[in-house]
Symmetry: C2
Subunit: 281 residues, 2 copies
Amino acid sequence: MLALCIQVKEILHQERSPYQDILVFESTNHGNVLVLDGIIQCTERDECAYQEVITHTPLNCHPNPKKVLVIGGGDGGVLREVVKHDVVEEVVLCEIDEAVIRVCQKYLPSMAVGFKHPKVRVHIGDGFKYMAENQATFDVIITDSSDAVGPAAVLYQVEYYQLLKASLAPQGIICNLVDSVWANEPLIRRVLTFLKDEYPSVGVATAYTPTYVTGQLSFIVASKQPNQNLAVPVRKWTQAQERRLCQYYGAEVHESSFIHPNFMRQLISECLSETSKVDHL
Amino acid sequence: MLALCIQVKEILHQERSPYQDILVFESTNHGNVLVLDGIIQCTERDECAYQEVITHTPLNCHPNPKKVLVIGGGDGGVLREVVKHDVVEEVVLCEIDEAVIRVCQKYLPSMAVGFKHPKVRVHIGDGFKYMAENQATFDVIITDSSDAVGPAAVLYQVEYYQLLKASLAPQGIICNLVDSVWANEPLIRRVLTFLKDEYPSVGVATAYTPTYVTGQLSFIVASKQPNQNLAVPVRKWTQAQERRLCQYYGAEVHESSFIHPNFMRQLISECLSETSKVDHL
């Protein structure tokens, strides 16, 4: 197995919430770091890659994203990114664990700044329940969750993706984390295989994420609109806007994040094809 | 600081050569791993990314690469990739440490298979001396070296790049490792800044490399041909050939490997511009 170590300068906060262990430490050269149940969630140094790709990829694939839902995302980083889109009228954050929000507001202010925007509404509660009560509502839903182990495992099941679909408005788009193909190929294979029966358009984007084991994260992007090429943003910023708004994401980065090494391209095409051959690479 | 750990199943070999400590171990799920002076060089599980990108990127940017030189590369993986190009007539590997070759032939046969090809010629000796004696000779020179610390540090100096240039045939192209922008931005900044005065066309490509800290490696590609867009391969395989020949590289991957996050694009453009502003990002 692989493991990633980040040097700790000082433990800033530690608590056991009703849902998980929450730890924040100051690292020697990656800024403050949020750790949930022993797994690094983000560091101030490189969180831009994750937050920007998981947010702007689905938002720029939607022609007119007025209502956005974020499931999880208690650090506020995704909110900070969503409100960069002037077209968005409201963004709801549904986080089960209020302690994460409280801790991040204190120790990760550069992310938690997202909570301060007037378009943001916070709902503390279970995402499953919230979506069941808010059907056909959201143009974009982003699931900013923990890994597919422990309590977040339910977010990697077909039932969750069906619930997302029901909560999406027509032509709605979702974006969900699915680990790295290098670290967890079986997970990506399983999710893609059931997704092709649920959503008419499905794609996989990747981003360089230095403080995640393998240095890569993959994101599922799926749309209710048939034959949508999710690798091509339907809305783009100018290069000057990109430089002002983003450290990582841009229209070219969007397109290239859907281009994959041969072995991964073959895996995706096997999983998404109707005949879905199961030859292992 | 960041550190990457790979679980050891069994130490297979350990020796001190006249140049470095050489260690090979079997890992629990990344195959056999080569370690030089305590730094992981490659694992059987993901070496394809590094070897294919450092080799096919420069070779496919050259219209007719007949003579290729590899400096370092004692594991044989780059040789294995070079000989996939039928147009290549001869590839010389210049490795200072014969012990690396001997150890890899025993413990990393899937890479060392490169040594068996009839187009390969091995020269045990110092790359600086070899290039000084072989001027204006090679169409492509690949430097497959260790990190920019210890004995390999001289490979990251302007004098080395001048020597490479002198050893290149007209229109020749080089490809060199330069760490990751996340891990060592100052190195990339320094090398690019002196390179722009040495080579008329310079580009930076990246590859996902899970068993390298930060999960990314960057490669300098530089050509003696003016105004060459190194992001666009001048020779391409068909998709069927790509699937047969490569696990990672392909023409689309080539192009996307030159597309960078905003902060890195800005860094590169600052370093390569004539006015070379030194604003720090």
